[in-house]
């Protein structure tokens, strides 16, 4: 189980990758991996609303952006009793269930590396590329303001 700070950081990363992944690609990778695991649904998958908060510029005072539809799921792996959690934006219950299952498998010392290599890494690549593309588009709109120093304060 993920207990130490380092493990929590790693787990946060893969949970984010699974949550943000494109469902079609996630499903394809999961089918291709041929991993089989029986599990119980402990909670959900169920859809609800959460209030998303934002900070202006990433550091300002938090404000409510609005409500976001979220689907969550918790599974318990049959053999190890390990819990996998997932919170995924939108209403795709299968996505939440698969993401929760993969979160559970990632915590398994023997299966984790394989899941990481076969599923998490490709998803992360696509996500990084998409993010870079967005950032490049946003960067192109950046305006630099040049202000002449008028020297009034001296």
């Amino acid at each position: 189980m993920a207990d130490s700070g380092l493990n929590i950081t790693r787990r946060k990363k893969w949970m984010a990758v699974l949550a943000k992944a494109d469902w079609e690609q996630l499903d394809t990778l999961w089918q291709q991996s041929k991993l089989k695991q029986s599990y119980d649904l402990v909670r959900g998958p169920e859809t609800g609303l959460i209030m998303a908060q934002g900070r202006m510029g990433g550091s300002g005072a938090p404000f409510n952006v609005g409500e976001v539809t979220v689907t969550r799921c918790t599974v318990r792996l049959a053999e190890s009793n390990v819990l996998g959690h997932a919170y995924v934006m939108g209403r795709n219950k299968k996505h939440a269930e698969t993401a929760a299952l993969l979160d559970g498998l990632m915590q398994d010392p023997s299966l984790g590396p394989r899941v990481s290599e076969d599923i998490i890494a490709p998803l992360q690549q696509v996500y990084a590329a998409r993010r870079q593309h967005m950032q490049a588009k946003a960067a192109a709109t950046k305006v630099d303001f040049f202000t002449l120093v008028r020297g009034e304060d001296d």
Partner: protein, 203 residues
């Protein structure tokens, strides 16, 4: 089904339907004090709770209802199960709880320790859930009061006469006082504060 120790048990599979079904059983049990209603769903109770008890808890408690657990029920498994499925706060003092859970029927704490409500707001009292290994209508104490045509015989295995006497004392404060829900392995019954309890004298 009982969850393995240390593993988080499954809650309701279909929360809306399962909890309304259980709620109906509890409501009927309170409307007809002493009558035993079957409940059977799929929540996996953590030790030492029975499935009926965990069904009742998952139905009634939520983030706004502080829960007090007796020493038998106050295990890490039970606490994490309730926190995960209901988000309820777990309190140390019976007086600050909205629900009390008693897993050992032979050691029910004095009902006066729980929140009694006030004459203006009798609904602010606590509800105490007592788990027993068997509920029966063929022997035991006599219930009389609203919802009972004549009288209703009732016994919960493990409950002592002094506990029944305490429940009768609780009735004398009506309309304030606590309500008692009794759970068996797969059934539920109730003894709300309106019920007069007579411990049968030996003839």
């Amino acid at each position: 089904m009982q969850a393995a120790s240390g593993a988080l048990g499954v809650g309701f599979l279909d929360p809306a339907m399962d909890s309304s079904r259980v709620f109906r059983s509890i409501m009927n049990a309170i409307a007809w004090p002493g009558r035993i209603k079957k409940i059977a769903t799929i929540s996996e109770a953590p030790e030492p709770l029975t499935r009926a008890t965990s069904d009742v808890l998952l139905t009634l408690i939520d983030v706004d209802t502080p829960v007090w657990l007796d020493s038998g029920a106050n295990t890490e498994d039970v606490r994490s199960y309730l926190r995960f499925h209901t988000g309820c706060p777990i309190v140390d003092e019976p007086a600050s709880a909205a629900f009390g859970v008693v897993s050992n029927p032979s050691a029910v704490p004095s009902l006066s320790a729980f929140s009694q409500g006030t004459p203006e707001y009798p609904d602010r009292s606590a509800t105490v859930i007592v788990q027993s290994s068997e509920l029966s209508n063929s022997e035991g104490v006599i219930f009389r009061g609203p919802g009972i045509a004549d009288e209703q015989m009732f016994s919960a295995s493990g409950m002592s006469d002094s506990t029944w006497a305490d429940i009768q004392k609780n009735h004398l404060g009506f309309p304030i006082g606590v309500d008692v829900i009794l759970t068996g392995p797969d059934c539920v019954a109730a003894c709300p504060r309106s019920v007069t309890v007579t411990v049968r004298e030996l003839v």
